[in-house]
Amino acid sequence: MTRSGMKLLALQILVGVCAIAFWHIGSQVPIGGTYLLPEFFFSTPLDVGQRIIKLFVTGTIWKHLWITLTETALAFAIGAAGGIAVGFWFARKPLLAAIFDPYVKMINALPRVVLAPIFMLWLGLGIWSKVALGVTLVFFIVFFNVYQGVKEVSPAILANARLIGMNERQLFRHVYWPSALSWVFSSLHTSVGFALVGAVVGEYLGSAAGLGYLIHQAEGVFDTTGVFAGMFILSAFVLIMDWAVTRIENRLLVWRPQSTAGQP
């Protein structure tokens, strides 16, 4: 690791430590008679840490984690693929886009929690109803960005590509896709989190296992420590998924100028 990488990591850890210290003080030291972060609602960092360790040591977490991650990964992959496909398709067929535009927006505004029973009816209680919930979140985030990204393709590059005789498929591969990539990745970074949220909310609303189930169960018996432990584990795994997305992004976008100031 480089020196600057080390420094960055140190600073990141510092921020984390500060946040935990604040949490600890807020939940343990009363300020003016009241606790800033009452233990009932926030638990304490120590308890949460112990719980996380216990969950991993006893191994109960693995099954749940595995299910939630599968759901998240599926929701992310399907939602992103769908959003990209439909986004490109709509961007290339303006009439189609114009016709369906209000419907897409209406559907995007439906509260997913309310749709849960319908997903359950169609897809059962297994992972697929949770995947569906995640997909409805990821899809729209990716879709709107891809749609706009395709429309932002440089007209000169597009005209040139069409004149050298590219057909739609080739235009997609050689022009629209690479050009819209930064839009796609921007939406993917947002989506990673939302895919997980979708999966967890789906589990929360009805499931037999998964982190959402654990969290819900903990909530039912007012076990705030359990809730926070679950959320921390969630968040940690999102970082791993996001890291993977960033890896792919850097690979695909090698052609970009490194620094913006260098080349006027």
């Binding site: 029973p117 359950m120 819900h216 007012f222």
Partner: protein
């Protein structure tokens, strides 16, 4: 009155579990007592309790068991009047499995639907299983939520058994999809499970609130007490006509049959008996081995002054 405008939390107002609340509101008993009650509906009982602790609501109609759990968490919560004397939870098995089902011991290996993990429906099955010599790990529990998703889960065959409340149970019975095997809506059923009553829905407050606003608490207690009296004598039709039409499950006949089924669960006097308290504690302890029962002082979970004053 110290505080004529109060906010009251409930986790699922249209549920029959909380029928007295809706009745009290519709019959105008709150107004009669000089109270303006804003009813906040929450995504579940746990959330309404959290709102109480957080100070967003003044009173909650929720499960008695909450007061016990909160004592363990050093939160002083007191129940003042009982609204439901039996939990009203029903364990039913899918029709096809009904023939093979003899006792809760047969739950082994089943997929059991509950409203939510950790909820009272979940706890009841766990309790039954523990009593039958099983451990909670012997079956898998699936949170299926309230309302339509629970019906969907049973219809689709996703679950073998279901521990749930009305109206879901009545709906599924009307669809002839289930057979009820344990029924805590009735006296017989409840006694068979717990050996006595087991307070379900109660009205509870934070102790601080009671101390600061005794008159308000009294007024609210009075309103509910009067509702219980009305409820004791009302016909199911009268009840149905009192609640908003939207609560009818889209079918008045179904609603009336659901009322008939749950009729016995509603408290007659509002009194929380010591025996009931013990049963409730027993339920908690049996289902949560880490729960320290010794630390619980059951007398500190209720405050019966107001009910007494009313009578």
């Amino acid at each position: 009155l110290e505080k004529p405008n109060i906010t009251l939390g409930v986790g699922g107002k249209p549920l029959l579990y909380y029928l007295p609340l809706t009745l009290a509101e519709r019959l105008g008993y709150f107004k009669e007592q000089g109270l303006t009650v804003e009813i906040n509906d929450f995504g579940g009982g746990a959330k309404s309790l959290q709102a109480l602790i957080g100070g967003s609501v003044d009173a909650v109609t929720g499960a008695y068991e909450h007061t016990i759990r909160m004592q363990a968490k050093r939160q002083d919560i007191r129940a003042v009047i009982e609204l439901g004397r039996y939990p009203g939870v029903v364990l039913a098995v899918r029709k096809e499995k009904a023939a093979a089902f003899k006792s809760p011991a047969d739950l082994k290996g089943m997929k059991i639907g509950v409203t939510a993990p950790g909820s009272s429906t979940h706890l009841l099955v766990t309790y039954l299983m523990v009593k039958a010599g099983l451990t909670p790990d012997d079956a898998s529990f699936i949170g299926v939520g309230g309302g339509a998703s629970a019906v969907a889960a049973m219809q689709k065959g996703e679950i073998d058994a279901l521990s749930h409340l009305d109206p879901v149970i009545s709906k599924l019975e009307s669809m002839d999809a289930i057979k009820v095997v344990v029924d805590t809506r009735t006296t017989d059923g409840t006694v068979a499970v717990f050996g006595g009553t087991n307070p379900a829905a109660v009205l509870y407050f934070k102790k601080d609130f009671i101390d600061a606003n005794p008159k308000t608490v009294q007024a609210l207690t009075n309103a509910f007490g009067k509702t219980l009296k009305w409820l004791k004598d009302a016909t199911p039709e009268q009840i149905a006509d009192t609640v908003p039409e939207e609560f009818w499950l889209g079918d008045k006949a179904l609603y009336i049959s659901a009322i008939k089924a749950t009729r016995e669960t509603y408290s007659l006097t509002g009194v929380i008996t010591p025996e009931g308290m013990k049963n409730a504690l027993d339920l908690v302890v049996k289902t949560d081995p880490e729960f320290n029962a010794a630390a619980i002082d059951l007398t500190k979970t209720v405050d019966d002054r107001f009910l007494k004053a009313m009578q």
